[in-house]
């Protein structure tokens, strides 16, 4: 590999970041994330009155001495998160550098999560094979990177939104979906309807390439869909381009509205921005990373 997909210097720059979530649903294992539940961490949380059945060891005796009432001293719990990254590997992802960018995002997110000691799972698929990866711990960062780097050019030609649900494991704290969003809204809608039942904190990352934003075609074009090979003959005029942009913007706006309706966060990323900018700026701005 002449050029590494995700050089180590990028890993270093991600060092300080961690995934933040308000989701109450964390993993069962001990982790590094403070849970809203009381637990066994060193951080003090609250006092509450003693009720029979509580562990006597947690009674704060100092408070009992002053008030003659037994109070339980509570500590915050620290729990791990289960992060799942679902990568869209339909053929449309293979064009215009989107695949590389999408994988960089996947690696970056995975590494941030692994570094926090969370369980990271990753899944994608082709027509023949399903790819799945699940690891926990900083040590697996390299293997995660290697796993994703080895993924071949996307070749799936079945719709992503229709298939996605089958590839999401149970009990996921944060679900990252990396896709280009180029599917009909009703398919997304059927997917989104069922999502909240699986996971409370879903984050949809849409990947856009400059060629899609501003096509540079001129004259009469036969445009062929890379997935279903449907051809559309278009005479390129300013009007047609304008219509295209309008349709595209409307589609994105509707997708965002649809996502909001089902409590799904959506982030729009562009290949030209670069993966690092997405992590260090866009995700922090929107509070996805901390």
């Amino acid at each position: 590999m002449t050029e590494e997909l995700f050089p180590d210097r990028l890993t270093k720059r991600l060092g300080a970041l961690s995934i933040s979530t308000r989701s109450r649903r964390l993993g069962q294992h001990k982790g590094t994330h403070r849970s809203s539940k009381t637990g066994t961490s060193l951080d003090f949380s609250d006092f509450r009155e003693y009720h029979p059945g509580d562990d006597l060891r947690h009674i704060d005796w100092n408070v009992f001495a002053r008030t003659d009432k037994p109070f339980i001293k509570q500590f915050l719990d620290e729990q791990e998160m289960r992060i799942h990254i679902l990568l869209d590997s339909t053929k449309s992802m293979g064009t215009d550098g989107k695949w590389k960018f999408a994988r960089q995002l996947a690696i970056g997110l995975g590494q941030v999560a692994l570094k926090s000691g969370d369980t990271v799972s990753f899944s994608t698929w082709t027509a023949e094979q399903n790819y799945f990866f699940r690891k926990k711990g900083v040590l697996h960062r390299a293997s995660f990177k290697k796993f994703i780097s080895k993924l071949e050019q996307p070749a799936s030609d079945t719709g992503f939104a229709e298939q996605a649900l089958r590839h999401i494991p149970k009990a996921v704290t944060v679900l990252f979906i990396i896709t280009d969003g180029l599917e009909e809204l009703r398919k997304w809608e059927t997917l989104f309807k069922r999502m909240p039942g699986i996971c409370k904190d879903i984050r949809l990352i849409t990947v856009h390439s400059p060629a899609e934003e501003l096509p540079l075609y001129e004259g009469d074009m036969r445009l062929i869909d890379v997935e279903n090979e449907a051809a559309v003959e278009v005479s390129m005029t300013r009007r047609v381009m304008q219509d295209y942009s309008e349709k595209k913007n409307r589609h994105e706006a509707e997708l965002r509205a649809l996502a909001n309706k089902f409590g799904i966060q959506l982030m729009r990323t562009e290949v030209s921005d670069g993966a690092m900018d997405v992590f260090t700026r866009q995700m922090r701005h929107s509070g996805w990373l901390r």
């Binding site: 004259g219 445009l223 062929i224 869909d225 449907a230 051809a231 559309v232 003959e233 295209y244």
Partner: protein, 587 residues
């Protein structure tokens, strides 16, 4: 509709080239994209109707084709057949013959025609007008005049000339005028046969306005008067051109005194002729026959006769030079050649041309003597000198070479001489004597040869106080005294008509009647009579022939349609430009 330049069809290559260009045009370049999701949507609108879609997609092509085809169409020079009002040039041919004086209601046919011409001229104000009047010599009243006032003035001043219309001459005249085509010709006459337009000219539209109703007319077709031993006899031939029986009165008048000599009533069947004779009239010099009846054409109800020796027969002696006879034939007289015996018999009725000197003393009428059979010639050389005589007003004999002369007659007036010796003499009786043989001169080579014989014949046959019979406006040379004074013409009532500087330029008055001619103090009478064809008022339907066409009329054709199509072409180009602007440039 037709096309002026069918040869321009070759320009159809241009639209065909565009068509081929669209056939061979590369249609679409393929490009693979992530999704046709949005493209599909953006094109769906145009798929509403396949026809509309096709039209939309190929709008530029259709527009270009339409523009080019229209340009080809323009190059073909389309035109619409013009209606008559578009003729830029109108020619009025106005019949001014006597028959046009026939009355139709209160106005004469001529006045009716004038009104019609006025109307037409006012209708076409601004275009060019030419007015031609008919006659032996068609006259151009105005030519290609477009000033309304001048045109109307000219029409107003049109007058009858009473002479025969000679329509064929006018027709040729108009054809030469309208050589460039695009001319609307209107004839105003009583009747004109369609057959005169056999050779139809391109670009000329003929409209013939005729007298369409038959008019009532009885005319004096012929009026003859002869002096006999019992006095004067007159014969009147009447002709009824109407189908019903007509009655009336014929008066015979002495025109000089105005005295009524006799009268006779008559009744005439429809479409028939009759002869009325009047006998034992007193001796007269000018007689007038008047037909009193109720008809529409009054001009032919009068006829005039001047009495006098009007013989036009010439007997030429067989012994004379053959060219003498030819000369008399050339001037239109009845010529016979005869022996001395024949001349003896006919000498009272005919003009004798001989070399028999005995005729100078026989008979009453003067003769023309050429040479002398009782003498021989002497050689002579020199120029011919002529006296101031009426005989030489037309025929100049100064250039004639004469090689020999007969001896002259004593006491005869010498009117031409060669180096002092008499050449032409005149006897007291009026005989003209040429003292040479034609063979001894080069006279036949000169144009004066027939003219001299004409002058001589005029002088010898005509009674001195009768100038002749003329048709209206007839141009005929008169033998005058040759004096410096001009000829003046008066009516019988001594009203002044015209003055002519010499006999050669005399033109007869237009109106029929008897006139007085004052020449050098001598009074002569002349009559102006209608030609017999003018005594008939014809009628027929008006019609028009031919169209203002086409080949000769390039400017008109282009102007009518060509520029009209340029506007849609410009509009098409504008739309094309707009389509181009919205679509962007292909490839």
């Amino acid at each position: 509709m037709g096309f002026e330049h069918l040869g321009g069809m070759w320009t159809a290559i241009f639209p065909l080239a565009v068509l081929l260009y669209y056939f061979f045009r590369k249609k679409y370049r393929s490009a693979t994209i992530s999704s046709t999701l949005f493209w599909e949507k953006s094109m769906r609108e145009t798929k509403v109707s396949p026809y509309l879609k096709n039209l939309q997609r190929n709008a530029l092509f259709y527009l270009q084709m339409a523009a080019l085809l229209l340009l080809v169409f323009i190059l073909l020079g389309p035109y619409l057949p013009k209606d008559e009002h578009t003729a830029a040039h109108t020619v009025f041919v106005v019949d001014t013959s006597a028959s046009m004086a026939a009355m139709d209601g209160n106005l004469s046919l001529f006045e009716h025609n004038k009104k019609k011409i006025m109307e037409l001229a006012e209708e076409r104000t601004g275009t060019e007008f030419t007015i031609v009047t008919t006659g032996k010599e068609p006259k151009l009243v105005i030519r290609e005049e477009s000033d309304e006032r001048t045109v109307l003035g000219a029409i107003d001043q049109l007058e009858l000339t009473y002479e025969q219309e000679h329509m064929a001459r006018s027709l040729d005249f108009v054809k030469s005028l309208a050589a460039e085509g695009g001319v609307d010709v209107h004839f105003f006459t009583d009747y004109l046969d369609r057959s005169v337009f056999m050779e139809s000219e391109n670009g000329i539209r003929w409209t013939v306005h005729t007298n369409d109703l038959p008019l009532e007319n009885i005319s004096i077709e012929k009026f003859g008067v002869v002096s006999t031993t019992k006095g004067t006899e007159a014969i009147v031939k009447l002709s009824n051109q109407k189908s019903s029986v007509q009655a009336g009165t014929i008066l015979i008048r002495n025109e000089i005194t105005g005295e009524e000599l006799t009268k006779q009533e008559f009744s005439l069947d429809g479409l028939s002729d009759t002869l009325l004779s009047f006998k034992e009239l007193p001796e007269l010099s000018a007689v007038k026959a008047v037909l009193e009846t109720d008809d529409d054409f009054s001009l032919d109800n009068e006829a005039f006769v001047l009495l006098g020796n009007e013989s036009s027969e010439v007997i030429v002696d067989q012994q004379l030079h053959e060219l003498v006879k030819k000369a008399f034939e050339a001037i239109g007289l009845d010529v016979t050649s005869g022996s001395v015996n024949e001349m003896n018999i006919a000498r009272e009725q005919a003009l004798l041309v001989t070399n028999e000197t005995k005729f100078l003393n026989e008979g009453t009428s003067p003769i023309l003597l050429i040479g002398r059979n009782d003498s021989v010639t002497d050689q002579v050389s020199g120029r011919v000198d002529t006296a101031n005589d009426a005989l030489f007003t037309i025929a100049q004999v100064e250039d004639v070479y004469v090689s020999g002369l007969y001896p002259p007659f004593e006491n005869y007036e010498t009117i031409a001489s060669v180096s002092g010796k008499p050449f032409i003499q005149r006897s007291p009786r009026g005989d003209i004597i040429i003292l040479t043989d034609i063979g001894l001169t080069d006279w036949p080579l000169h144009p004066s040869f027939p003219l001299f014989f004409w002058s001589a014949a005029e002088m010898l046959t005509t009674d001195n106080n009768i100038a002749g019979i003329f048709t209206p406006n007839e141009r005929k040379a008169l033998l005058t005294s040759g004096g410096s004074e001009s000829i003046e013409v008066f009516t019988i009532d001594d009203k002044y008509i015209a003055t002519y500087p010499d006999g050669g330029s005399f033109v007869a008055p237009a109106k029929p009647g008897i006139y007085k001619l004052l020449d050098n103090g001598k009074e002569e009478l002349l009559t102006v009579q209608l030609e017999s064809s003018e005594k008939l008022v014809k009628h027929g339907a008006s019609y028009s022939l031919g169209g203002i066409s086409t080949l000769n009329d390039k400017e008109e054709g282009k102007n009518t349609i060509g520029w009209l199509i340029l506007l849609p072409v410009l509009l098409l180009l504008l739309i094309e430009w707009e389509v181009q602007r919205r679509r962007g440039y292909p490839n």
